[in-house]
Amino acid sequence: MDIVVCIKQVLDPEIPASQFKIDPVSKRQVQADGQGLVISTYDEHALEVALKLKEQVGGRVTALTLGEPSATSALRKALSMGADEAALVSDQAFQDLDAKGVAHLLRAAIKKIGTVDLVLCGCESADWGHRTVGPLLAEELGIFCVTFATRIEPKGDRIILRKVVEDGYELIEAPLPLLVTITSDETNVPRYPKVKDIMLAARKPIPTWTAKDLSLDGAKIGKGSSKIELRQLYIPAREARCELIEGETPEEQAERLAFRLRELKLL
């Protein structure tokens, strides 16, 4: 099975809110001291699902990213986890992209990679978290789409997916080619790369594709192509006033909490 996993590089999303900074003019996050660049959380889970599937049925896994040249390190990590190939889409000309522009560029790169049975994305990016790029990419590619799955099993020329829904999960049967977005569960925890694989990955060539390497529709990625405008980005105020319940023993604290909740008519 030939699989492309779309991964995005982001600033580590797990830093505490107290360290988080933005630039209100460019309306973007500013890198905090010591804040590293990582693969967007769910994209790593998507990669894990792809690698498991490859181990089961064979085929190739290609990691694909659109971003700054620095995103090569995300691709190296993907290679060290076990991806066979990696490609970076990067060009100074790509400015002001919205989700549709991103999807259009990812489509062009996937067409360049060749025939693909399965395209995996994370369910949501750790920075914007809009959950739009995956389904938009399915439309760009003209293939069916299932979102929010955690597991994929092959079934002849089709696959069975486990999709998480509000009250449990569904098993869904779908034909290939297909785009699937992945969320996390205990079966797709990203593997740690082995030292040997990190060294091998460091030597693998990673092509960078610019606008001239891809067949693109200028109207979809040009400046002003976006149909929405980000007007403002701000950090919401949080009021912080916690009443700590004290006590000689934890049991006493627990009892006082129960009383306090009763007083507040919460019980």
Partner: protein, 327 residues
Amino acid sequence: MAGILVLARMEGGSVARSGFELLGAARSLAEPFGERVTAALLGKETSAYLKTLFVQGADLVAEASHPSLGTYAPEAYLSALEQICRSLDPSMILLSADSIGRELAPRLAHRLEAGIVAEVIDVAVTDGIPHLISPAYGGKAMSVFTPKGYPLVVTLKPRAFKPLRADESKHGEVVEIDLDLPPHLLQVKVVEQVKEEAAGVKLEDAKIVIGGGRGLGGPEGFQVLEQLAKLLKGAVGASRAATDAGWVPTSWQIGQTGKTVGPDLYIAVGISGATQHIAGVSGAKTIVAINTDAEAPIFKIAQLGIVGDYKKIVPRLIGKCKELLGR
């Protein structure tokens, strides 16, 4: 603007609550423009449910019933919505940011060559322009989007908007939409549905929610929380750390990626309070934190807290609540 369309869908034999939340939001967006609000009702046999949509704020109902829409099938639903939009040409289309809306909205936007704004938690019309607010960076920031043109597709976070008060006197116009849904659209099909809800109150509807995190140390910790939840007639949810560990089902996850809950009381046990988690409980009226680490960020957003080990605190809390409640 040429009207606002919301997607209402059937769920377990009635109209899903999300449709009413969307109608509430749609009215606040439509009124400044003097526009009409249309509810598109997808399902198999829907005629008995049209009235409730008028009562909840629709001026017009687009009735799109079709045998293929009995249960959610992504490609058939998408095609149906596309056909409705092409026939009615709304300028804004609102869907719930639930498992179905999130899957359909971007694809619909692509087909209609519309803009899309996702995961919206608040809307306002200023200077004749809709401003749509949605969280970014895991809830650490808020972003405000405006359309540069129409149509525009928007997904709204469940529970962020309230349904209007029902007005039984309201009625309106029904347009029937003839759908063409060829069988190949049913190739992506649900072969099994598995419910993972704990007995008792549904997490989304619960007035009291107890959330468990990595600090519980294992699935046994959740059994204690379930005892407390049962006693308080509440429900148990979890952080991503706990669902990723496989201690409880993924569908129990609360937060940005998981569910949004809006209880009167949320008790976070062994949860550090990452913004991505808090994003799912921002509607809670009172948050109580039980955590061994006095520096945990959860104490920055909780109103009440105990610094201590849940293993000692929760059993005694259960005991005392039993006494106070006489249960």
